[in-house]
Symmetry: C2
Amino acid sequence: MKSRITSLFGIDFPVIQAGMIWCSGWRLASAVSNAGGLGLLGAGSMSPEVLEDQVRKCKSTTDKPFGVNVPMLYSRIEEQLDIIVREGVKIVFTSAGNPAKYTTFLKEHGITVVHVVANVKSAIKCEQAGVDAVVAEGFEAGGHNGKEETTTFTLIPQVRQAVQLPLIAAGGIATGRGMLAAMVLGADGVQVGSRFVASEESSAHQAFKQKILETGDGGTFLALKKVGPVRLIRNSFFQKVHELENSGASPELLTELLGKGRAKLGMFDGNIDEGELEIGQISAMIGDIRPAAAIFREIMDEFHVAVNEIKNW
Amino acid sequence: MKSRITSLFGIDFPVIQAGMIWCSGWRLASAVSNAGGLGLLGAGSMSPEVLEDQVRKCKSTTDKPFGVNVPMLYSRIEEQLDIIVREGVKIVFTSAGNPAKYTTFLKEHGITVVHVVANVKSAIKCEQAGVDAVVAEGFEAGGHNGKEETTTFTLIPQVRQAVQLPLIAAGGIATGRGMLAAMVLGADGVQVGSRFVASEESSAHQAFKQKILETGDGGTFLALKKVGPVRLIRNSFFQKVHELENSGASPELLTELLGKGRAKLGMFDGNIDEGELEIGQISAMIGDIRPAAAIFREIMDEFHVAVNEIKNW
């Protein structure tokens, strides 16, 4: 399956594994890259020192292209970008910020730049900023999420209409059918997050992976809208936040409850009651923890089956 | 395009025009049925007397199948069902209630019964209740909406997996590409709402239709979650509700603000500031008001173009 996305990254199949905090280390990224997709390190939960180590491990375990996702909110981002340049990383996904800020710097160093957006206006800004591709991520996605609450089904065709850039769909995509549907709506490739959290190579805690398997329809919800919307599993921590939100709590009070390190506590340390468990709605369709290469193959196979069904109509 | 949905209803192309309050009268329903889809009257905003008149007008303007959507919350529903039986209506879509309640009665009168759901659990209940097909409607849909906030992209494959029933996808679908994407995800047909509100034959007020054309990405939002979630255009009325909700207002206070007749005021009487304007996220893709038959043909044509693109891969 060739598209503008396989050409842009020099990969075999237009599937990107999302660079997610606490879940996407070198084991997962190199497994996906070796399988023929694009693996991403999630720098948002790494100190610059850890990122340097992870990039080196990625380089030593795959000869294929890989990249790093850098959330622009991160306090030590400039140190991270220096490491990325110094270590010769060729692909960077930026998120949660203004695409104009680092695109020129990165491109001057020969890096392919992709920016993640959740609405049409930001996609247009990406094009103006000169990024090479855009990820459009819908409301069903896990973790940080757009204020507009635009879903994948409605966001992808709108972004397709608004910009010429290669377009990667994200949010709700865990299967080959989901991939084909996103491409029918206008995407050139897809980014898969939740499905790869429940892989053997993901660095998510085993208890979090297990919790994903148990999460059904309605098992996640968008929380903390006043602080910054984030999709979470409905655990005890979520319930506390939800009740406070329903009673009109201020952003300050919510920030205080949230405290520090809540995502690490849940996703990496495995406290599934009191931690923040970021995962997408499509977790309801995830029924096993498998090696990333097997997940990747399954997506490819189902995609081809779905394409052939249409060819036989 | 044949599917289990075209066979079930005896129509040419598996597109159903949603039976929406204040928008779907006999002009719209018969235009869609005459075009080869399934037109539905929206009984939720009709007195039994008006419904009787509308059904008769439908019968006199189309020889093709048409149906009625009956929200089960409606106070005079039993009178409506009597009229439906007496007038020989062959297809009923029920919504907003328990599918077990009227399915047996309707089927005993030879009526094909479809129930609208927003989550997997309700879809399973539909199968148990013996309905003939299910509409699964995602979070992006306009008007009344599910508490789970499951999007079309994640709801359709889950319902497909959970039940054997013919499956109609709804929420976010206004184009042929959207239709094909929904079918790739597992649907046998689609229900289109917002796009047909902005048709010449819809009974929506011209000012509401015009407002839909001006609505962009992020222009609708889910409101009144404590009372019963409903997707609305962000007008003055919405802003008042939204501020009250953010400050923790009780369901009673919200119900008081809502008052009576707010949907009629906005959608039928055209008070676009103080009325409740129910429309889906996909309104951001709607750019003109056209005859329903032209909209229908456009959806069919785009669907076939998208199918042929895949055939040529």
